[in-house]
C-alpha cells in the first residue's frame, strides 16, 4: 500500500471515529438540553396559569407562544391525587397542521379558588425536533467538509514533505553500477532525507570501488589466462607434429588441446559478457541486419549444404539498427549458428525480416532444458556436453544492452526466436 494511501486512510479512520462519536454525543446532549428547556418553559407557564387563572379558559385554549403551539386546559376534578408536577409525552391533533404532533405535557392538580382542578399545559415538540435535526445536519456537513480538507491537506503536505524522498528513489531506480558518472541527489529541507541521501552516496562510493576492483581483477585474470593458454596450445601443436606418437598418446594430446580451446573460448565469451556489462561498447553506427545475416549464412553455407538444410530468406524490408556492429554480428552469428547446428538433418531454417522485427525459425528436436533457463549462462543440452552454454546468454545480454526484446517459443518441433528492435 502506498504511503499516501496509508496515511490518508489512517487520518480518515481517526477523523471518522472522532466525528461520529462526537456527533452522537453532541446530538444527545443537544436533545437533552432542548428537553430541559421545554420543561423549564412548561413550569414557567404553569406558574403563570396558577397566578392568573382568569386569563385561561376553563375548557381549553390554544395559543402560540414564541412560534410554538401551546395548549392550555383547566379541568375540574373531585379530589387531588397527586400534588406534584407530572411530565408526560402525548400526541395531540394540531389544528394548524391538521395532524397529530408530538407534545410535551405538564399536568398539575391543585386547589384553584376553592375548586379542585387539573391544569394541563401541552407544548409542541415540533420546532425543538426540527432544531435538533438541523443542528445534526450542519454537524454532518461540517464533518464532511473537514474530511475533504484532511484529504486535501494530507495530499499537499505529502508531496511537499516526501517529494525529495521520491526523487531519491528515482535516482536509485535509474542507478546502474556501470555508469561512470556518480549519483546526485537533490538537497532537501528535511534532515532525515539528507541523511538518507548521504548514506546512499557513501554506499555508492563503496560499491563503485568494489566493482572497479572486481572489474580490473577479472580483466587482468582473463588476459593473463590467455598467455599460459597460448603456451599450452603451441606446445600441443608441436607435440602433434611428432611422427612417433601412438594411438593413446594422440588421444591424450587431443583431449588436452580440446580442453585448452574450450577454456580459451570460455574466457573469450566471459570477457565479452563482462565488456557488455562494463558498457565498453558505447560506439554506435548503422548496422544492416539483412547484410549481416547474409554474411553469416554465407559463412555457414557448406555446413548448411552438408546437413542438407533448406534456408528460406524472407526479407520484407531493409532493417537497420543503431548499435555496435561487432555486438550485432556476434548476436546474429550465435542465433544463426544455433538454428543450423541444432537443426535436424534435411531440416529448415526460415529468416523473416519485418519492420523492427527479426524472426528465426528452425526445425529441431524438443528442448531438454526449460524455457526459463534457455537464456541463462552455462545452460546446455545434456546431449551436447562440449558446448559452452554461453551463446544464448551472450545474445540475451546484447539484446538487454540495446533494449531489444527477445522471445523464444516452440511450435510443433519448430524453434522460433523473435527479436523486436525497439
Amino acid at each position: 500500500m502506498k504511503l499516501l494511501t496509508k496515511t490518508t486512510l489512517f487520518f480518515l479512520t481517526i477523523a471518522l471515529f472522532v466525528l461520529f462519536g462526537g456527533g452522537i454525543v453532541f446530538y444527545f446532549s443537544f436533545r437533552y438540553m432542548m428537553n430541559h428547556e421545554v420543561k423549564r418553559e412548561l413550569i414557567t407557564e404553569m406558574h403563570e396559569v396558577i397566578l392568573h387563572p382568569s386569563r385561561y379558559n376553563i375548557i381549553g385554549i390554544d395559543s402560540i407562544v414564541f412560534d410554538l403551539p401551546v395548549h392550555y386546559q383547566i379541568l375540574p376534578i373531585k379530589d387531588i391525587h397527586n400534588s406534584k408536577f407530572v411530565f408526560s409525552d402525548t400526541l395531540l391533533l394540531d389544528n394548524i397542521m391538521g395532524r397529530y404532533q408530538a407534545y410535551r405535557m405538564l399536568s398539575y392538580e391543585t386547589n384553584l379558588g376553592g375548586k379542585f382542578v387539573r391544569i394541563t399545559i401541552s407544548k409542541s415538540l415540533l420546532v425543538s425536533d426540527e432544531l435538533v435535526e438541523y443542528v445534526a445536519f450542519v454537524t454532518l456537513a461540517l464533518s464532511l467538509i473537514l474530511l475533504l480538507f484532511i484529504i486535501g491537506f494530507n495530499n499537499y503536505f505529502f508531496s511537499r514533505i516526501w517529494g525529495n524522498f521520491f526523487k531519491t528513489i528515482d535516482v536509485i531506480k535509474d542507478y546502474s553500477i556501470s555508469d561512470t558518472e556518480g549519483i546526485t541527489f537533490t538537497e532537501s529541507e528535511i534532515t532525515e532525507f539528507n541523511q538518507l541521501n548521504q548514506v546512499f552516496e557513501k554506499m555508492h562510493e563503496r560499491i563503485k570501488q568494489d566493482y572497479q576492483n572486481l572489474k580490473e581483477f577479472i580483466e587482468n585474470i582473463s588476459h593473463e589466462i590467455q598467455n599460459p593458454l597460448a603456451i599450452i596450445k603451441s606446445r600441443v601443436d608441436l607435440l602433434q607434429q611428432n611422427e612417433n606418437i601412438d594411438k593413446l598418446q594422440a588421444e591424450l594430446i587431443q583431449s588436452i588441446q580440446g580442453s585448452a580451446i574450450r577454456l580459451s573460448n570460455l574466457n573469450k565469451s566471459l570477457i565479452l559478457l563482462s565488456k557488455i556489462d562494463n558498457n565498453q561498447f558505447s560506439e554506435r553506427e548503422e548496422v544492416d541486419i539483412v547484410e549481416n545475416i547474409n554474411f553469416h549464412l554465407d559463412n555457414f553455407e557448406d555446413i548448411i549444404q552438408s546437413k542438407n538444410i533448406s534456408v528460406h530468406k524472407n526479407y520484407k524490408n531493409p532493417l537497420v539498427v543503431w548499435a555496435d556492429s561487432n555486438l550485432v554480428s556476434v548476436m546474429l552469428l550465435n542465433l544463426l549458428k544455433n538454428s543450423i547446428y541444432h537443426n535436424l538433418p534435411s531440416g529448415t531454417v526460415e529468416v523473416i525480416v519485418e519492420p523492427k522485427l527479426l524472426t528465426i525459425k528452425n526445425s529441431g528436436k524438443k528442448l531438454d532444458i526449460s524455457q526459463e533457463d534457455l537464456f541463462k549462462r552455462f545452460t546446455k543440452s545434456s546431449n551436447r556436453p562440449d558446448s559452452l552454454g554461453l551463446g544464448l546468454a551472450i545474445v540475451k545480454k546484447i539484446c538487454d544492452y540495446y533494449h531489444f526484446s527477445i522471445q523464444y517459443s516452440c511450435q510443433d518441433n519448430f524453434h522460433i526466436i523473435t527479436i523486436i528492435f525497439i
Partner: protein, 225 residues
C-alpha cells in the same frame, strides 16, 4: 627469410621458433622491449612478430620505431587483447596483421605465408604443389592447367593445408581457421570432416593423388609425395 619474434613468454617464444625453424625460416627472439629495439637497429628482418604487452614497454612503440626507420617487411601483432580498439590501434600504427592469443602455430604459419606473399611478393606469388597450382589472391586452384571448382571454405581449407604442408593440422585448428571465433569447436569437427571428405573427393576426381592424409586421433596432413 628472417623473422624476429618479440614475445616475453619464453616458452611460447620457443614453440614459435621451433615451428617456424622447421618451416625453413631463420628465427631470432627478443624477450624484452629493449632487446627488440637493439635487434631491429642492428639487423634486417623480413617479418617481425610483436607482442603488445612487454614487461618494459609497449609493442606499439616498436612498430612506430620500425615505421620511422623505413622498415619494408611485414609486421604481425600477437596479443591477448582482442577489442576492436586494440586492433584498430595496432593496424593503424602500421602492423599488417593482428593475431589473438592463444593461437595455433599452423594459423601463425598461414598468416606469415600470406603476409610474405602480400608484402614481399606483392601478391603475385603462387603455390605450386606438383600438379596443383594455387593462386591465393585470385582464390583459384588449377589442376593440370584446369580451373578447379571449389567452394569458399574448401578453398580456404586447401590453402591452409597447403601452406602447412607436411604438418599435422588438428581438427581444432582447422575449425578455428575456417569459422573463426565464438564457434564451439566441438560443433565444427563434423563439418571439418565433411569438408576434408569433399575436398579429397574433388581432388581424386581430377586425377590427383591422395595428398590429404588422416592422422588418426589428431587431424589431417597435406603430404606432397
Amino acid at each position: 627469410m628472417k623473422i624476429l619474434i618479440v614475445e616475453d613468454e619464453i616458452e611460447l617464444s620457443e614453440s614459435i621458433v621451433s615451428y617456424l625453424k622447421s618451416e625453413g625460416y631463420l628465427c631470432e627472439h627478443a624477450l624484452t622491449y629493449d632487446s627488440a629495439i637493439d635487434k631491429i637497429s642492428l639487423y634486417e628482418y623480413d617479418i617481425i612478430l610483436v607482442d603488445l604487452n612487454l614487461p618494459d614497454g609497449n609493442g606499439i612503440q616498436i612498430i612506430r620505431k620500425l615505421k620511422e626507420s623505413d622498415f619494408k617487411g611485414g609486421i604481425i601483432i600477437t596479443s591477448a587483447r582482442d577489442t576492436l580498439d586494440d586492433r584498430i590501434l595496432g593496424l593503424n600504427s602500421g602492423a599488417d596483421d593482428y593475431l589473438i592469443k592463444p593461437f595455433h602455430l599452423a594459423e601463425l604459419n598461414a598468416r606469415i605465408k600470406s603476409l610474405t606473399r602480400r608484402v614481399l611478393f606483392k601478391g603475385g606469388n603462387t603455390i605450386t604443389l606438383n600438379e596443383i597450382i594455387i593462386k591465393p589472391d585470385a582464390h583459384e586452384v588449377y589442376i593440370k592447367g584446369k580451373l578447379m571448382d571449389l567452394t569458399k571454405k574448401e578453398f580456404a581449407l586447401l590453402l591452409f593445408l597447403a601452406t602447412n604442408k607436411d604438418r599435422v593440422l588438428s581438427k581444432e585448428s582447422i575449425a578455428e581457421h575456417l569459422w573463426g571465433d565464438y564457434i564451439d569447436s566441438a560443433d565444427s569437427f563434423d563439418f571439418v570432416y565433411a569438408h576434408i571428405k569433399n575436398l579429397r573427393k574433388k581432388l581424386i576426381e581430377k586425377g590427383v593423388g591422395n595428398y590429404l592424409q588422416t592422422v588418426y586421433g589428431v587431424g589431417y596432413k597435406f603430404v606432397e609425395k
